[in-house]
């Protein structure tokens, strides 16, 4: 009952939107190159299933890798920033500024350095994901109750023990929230990386770019089919992290009655 009540509203909303899309796109002739009706996208998805599946595998792999690297680097940086005022003062402006670097400017240089392999794309994803992870983790670490730390001190905790027993578990939900935001931007990051990195030959972003360049109704439908897969993939990643959060930090999910 409660599971149904949870699933039903978004499902109905998506169906209504798809229906509106279908009616809008289908009644306008000559629109198909720009916005194919839903049934044509579904057909394109079905007939290109294996192609899109292999593109998804490429994109998913680079997203998982990038996210993993960003998580390790992001959390490590957050901890360094938390412990060292100097690290915070030195790194924060750079961190914020790095978010404004257009990937298109960076990508050719990265390819020049590292070739056409996975590395340039990985770098782009890490660059994009790093920021939300660091910021949420730093904030979560800083939000730990001062009284709690005083208690740890009176119980004889060293600085490291206070971190391990009190600060780190308290900050974990925040770090995981950052990871959830990162997971959503990682997917779009992968697409941007695939589009802007020269010499890319597979991946959903590459597929979409290629299809759009054909400018035919059939190719556009395929681009939309790939986009719908991206949509589902981002959603799945996001919920997977929500699940991980409940597993790793069950006390918060209970306390807040969190939804995901």
């Amino acid at each position: 009952m409660s599971a149904l009540r949870r699933v039903l509203p978004p499902l109905v909303l998506v169906l209504v939107l798809l229906l509106a899309w279908e009616l809008y796109a289908d009644t306008r002739s000559g629109y198909a190159v720009l916005l194919p009706p839903v049934h044509e996208i579904a057909a394109a998805l079905a007939s290109n299933a294996s192609l899109i599946a292999s593109d998804l595998a490429t994109t998913a792999r680079v997203v998982a890798l990038g996210l993993g690297v960003a998580l390790v680097l992001g959390v490590a940086s957050a901890v360094a920033i938390h412990f060292s005022r100097l690290a915070r003062d030195a790194a924060y402006p750079l961190l914020v500024g790095s978010q404004a670097i257009p990937v298109a400017v960076l990508a050719p240089l990265l390819v020049f350095w590292w070739g056409f392999g996975v590395l340039p794309k990985l770098f782009v994803i890490v660059l994009i994901c790093f920021f939300p992870i660091v910021v949420t983790t730093v904030d979560a670490l800083a939000a730990v109750d001062a009284d709690q730390l005083k208690l740890m001190r009176t119980l004889g905790a060293s600085r490291w023990q206070a971190f391990r027993f009190a600060e780190w578990p308290a900050a974990l939900p925040g770090a995981l929230s950052g990871a959830r935001i990162a997971v959503a931007v990682a997917v779009i990051g992968a697409v941007i990386a695939e589009i802007s990195t020269p010499g890319t030959s597979s991946g959903l972003g590459h597929e979409i770019q290629l299809d759009l360049s054909f400018a035919t109704a059939q190719a556009t439908a395929r681009a939309w089919a790939a986009t719908s897969v991206l949509f589902a993939f981002a959603l799945a990643c996001f919920y997977a992290f929500g699940l991980a959060q409940r597993r790793l930090a069950p006390w918060t999910a209970r306390a807040r009655g969190a939804y995901v």
Binding site: Q148, K150, T154, S158, F165, P169, W251, R254, A255
Partner: protein, 260 residues
């Protein structure tokens, strides 16, 4: 004349300020080994500051403190939400390097004594306020320090739970004598539990009167000797508030609502 070698805590001429606010001015006090010493006083009279100084969490601006190793039990229970009750109670042991199993074993022995048997594995959010306070007290006791600094340990409990808490505290201390510095805004609690009650005045905080409590234990809150002492303490408190209140009854009530 007290024998200096039997003092567990000796405070002489303590001065402490926060910015321009003088929290403590020339405060002196002594607590004998094994004595339960209660401090009562209006909000902002520096009681909490004094406990932090005694337990070494802060240094005084001037004056001398000699104290055996002390542990502070803060006003809030501050149980770690990700640890089961028994692990919260055993926290200080873990911090001191005791293996988890042994730490749990030692905590377990005390759980029964405080009426917590069967709640070892309960998470903090599953416990009532009174039980959480008991776990917090166990955590303080298991820190193994000769001096316990209790900062309004029962301030947040309702009247019935508080009476219950006072009873178990008295019992535990009868069985396992410790030197206790008890800060409270509840005058009745002070005379019920303490061997000596010091009345403080506010801004700046200092001791204005000391009342020895020689009544045999266990004490009843309705016995005439205790009631008389409570009245004396209330009169002293009202005086400490510059006699500006509408008599000591009103002063006492303002107390009870205040906290510190």
């Amino acid at each position: 004349m007290q024998d200096a070698t039997r003092d567990a805590v000796r405070v002489h001429g303590i001065e402490h300020s926060y910015g321009t606010t003088r929290a403590l001015a020339g405060l002196s006090m002594r607590v004998a080994r094994g004595e339960v010493f209660a401090l009562v006083g209006p909000s902002g009279c520096g009681k909490t500051t004094l406990l932090e100084l005694i337990s070494g969490l802060a240094r005084p601006d001037a004056g001398e403190i000699e104290a055996e190793l002390a542990v502070l039990m803060p006003q809030r229970d501050l149980l770690l939400p990700w640890l089961a009750a028994i692990d919260n109670a055993a926290l200080a042991l873990r911090l001191a390097g005791t293996p988890r199993a042994l730490a749990r074993e030692r905590a377990h022995a005390l759980f029964g004594e405080l009426g917590l048997a069967g709640f070892e594995q309960a998470m903090p959010h599953e416990l009532s306020g009174g039980m959480r306070q008991r776990v917090a007290f166990l955590r303080t006791l298991l820190a193994g320090r000769p001096v316990l600094c209790l900062d309004e340990p029962f301030g947040a409990l309702d009247a019935i739970t508080r009476a219950e808490a006072q009873r178990w505290l008295e019992n535990v201390l009868l069985k396992r004598p410790r030197t206790v510095v008890l800060v409270t805004h509840d005058v009745e609690e002070a005379v019920l539990l303490a061997d000596r009650v010091a009345v403080m005045c506010a801004r700046p905080g200092r001791v204005i009167e000391e009342l020895p409590v020689t009544l045999p234990r266990p004490r009843s809150r309705t016995e005439p000797g205790l009631v008389a002492l409570r009245e004396r303490a209330l009169v002293a408190l009202a005086k400490g508030m510059d006699g500006s209140g509408p008599g000591f009854e009103g002063g006492a009530r303002r107390q009870a609502g205040g906290g510190s």
